[in-house]
Symmetry: C2
Subunit: 298 residues, 2 copies
């Protein structure tokens, strides 16, 4: 008997089927931008049939979704990127698969995995911030992601760090995301240079790249300083695609954060240990929680 | 049998002695700036003897303190204003009074009272922000103030809202407190005009006053927008001395907050119902929690 963990991104979906923490198979496929909900259900059904074909039928599935997610009802409330609104995803997936299904917010689900298996496993309350196309955070309180009152917590990407700054797609100006997401770093540099290359060039003293990267770091430090002042976390974990930059990101960000926290120590800043598998693993944890407690074999 | 609730401020201390929620006496006195700890203990002992003289000896005391407070150990970790560091206040007060004592952070204690008796009593998770000489917040999660990992949560007054703005005493620049505290509003207007008078003059189209007040409101809205994006509270409660401005504060602040939250609804914004008694009442709640559960009389 196995578990399905599925992570839905804006451009691709990733999944794993596991049995007793052992990975039986992993798959990824493009997100269906015409019919994202149909595409998710088809992919989930395909994973279930592959699991069955391997002799380990799926017992439960967890699905991590982008946008605004109401975990209590399993509803995909809104995704500007995928164009859905109020999709009863839990219900639809449960009907299609015929097994228990849990639905989570992608960054909170990633944070859950970091809390159980990754960089946060020995920490108290901590913040997981995923930097990719956008920027969002999961607040891990008491071992679990805190969704907020209506599932909208952790929107650090839209905290204003440069008042009257660059126009953001959200309608506001100067949002963190406009300066520090992987997409923003690439865009602000120009000439179709991806973020990781901008960071590499900054390290080689390319002036334009150094300037864009330095501003991105400053804005990230501003956002994390505000988060620290409000929440007083024990640890900050950076994940998402940009975390692949490793120490080129972590070390200067930690320094800039400490500079801003003038009257208190900065929390420890570390990189995700689960990389781009955090949400898949978190979705598997959500699935496992749907099962009755495991009875050890005699 | 009675309870003592004591709120220590930077310039004065306020207290109430209550019996079954009925106020037997209230008192206030200046904070002893030479020996603040001795002054607090003397005031508490005085209250206990007055309670005894009224025939209702104190059973327990709660003390709300400014600065950084570790509620778990009852330690007054640091107050820049009162100049103490690592004072074992719970221990000292318990020894002096001979009754159980609880110690809380002043703003969190005020937030607790709003949660139990005031503006937050029918709310889910909410944020209480006190605007006085400084600005700080209490995050009320699950009915209780969330202290953070080391008791430093809610430092919204030092969230930077104007990068490279005015120098703050904390060593940083552009902190919310530098623009929107009662002290800042008075100082930025100049000519020793207190904040409430600046607000009144702004309403009469005094240009200088209108400008200072408008910037104070903008900065408050910036800080509350960041808080909302991170935490997704159900409600924002404004307390502290500046809340006496009433609708002159609440209405324009609510409008500016909604303008900033472009992709989500703003949480409801309301004023404290307990005014400057919030922390005293909260301290009394802390004291009551030290007692065994109340047995109804037969």
């Amino acid at each position: 008997m196995s578990l399905i963990g599925l992570d839905v991104g804006g451009t691709s979906m990733k999944a794993a089927v596991t049995h007793d923490s052992e990975v039986l198979l992993t798959e990824s496929c493009p997100t269906d931008r015409e019919d994202p909900v149909g595409g998710i259900l088809d992919f989930a059904a395909h994973l279930a049939s592959r699991a069955a074909a391997l002799g380990s039928p799926a017992q439960a599935a967890g699905i991590a979704l982008p946008g605004i997610v109401d975990e209590s009802t399993g509803t995909a409330v809104h995704s500007a990127n995928l164009g859905w609104r109020d999709v009863p995803m839990l219900h639809l997936a449960r009907e299609r698969l015929g097994i228990p299904v849990a639905v989570g917010h992608d960054v909170r689900t990633g944070g859950l995995a970091e809390a159980e298996l990754g960089a946060g496993r020995d920490a108290g309350d901590f913040v997981f911030m995923a930097i990719g196309t956008g920027i969002a955070a999961a607040l891990i309180l008491n071992g679990s992601p805190y969704p907020g009152t209506i599932g909208w917590s952790g929107e650090i990407g839209h905290v204003v760090v440069r008042p009257n700054g660059e126009d953001c797609a959200c309608g506001n100006k100067g949002c963190l995301e406009r300066y520090s997401s992987a997409a923003a770093i690439s865009r602000r540099h120009g000439a179709s240079v991806p973020a990781e290359e901008v960071i590499a060039r900054a390290g080689r003293n390319d002036e334009k790249a150094a300037q864009v990267w330095s501003e991105a770091l400053d804005c990230l430090a501003d956002g994390l300083a505000a988060t620290t002042l409000l929440l007083d976390p024990s640890l900050l974990v950076i994940g998402g695609g940009l975390a692949k930059a490793g120490e080129s990101l972590r070390a200067p960000l930690a320094t800039r954060l400490a500079d801003r926290l003038t009257f208190r120590e900065a929390p420890r800043l570390t990189l995700s240990e689960l990389d781009d598998q955090a949400a898949v693993k978190g979705a598997t944890i959500l699935a496992a929680r749907l099962l009755p407690p495991h009875k050890p074999k005699k």
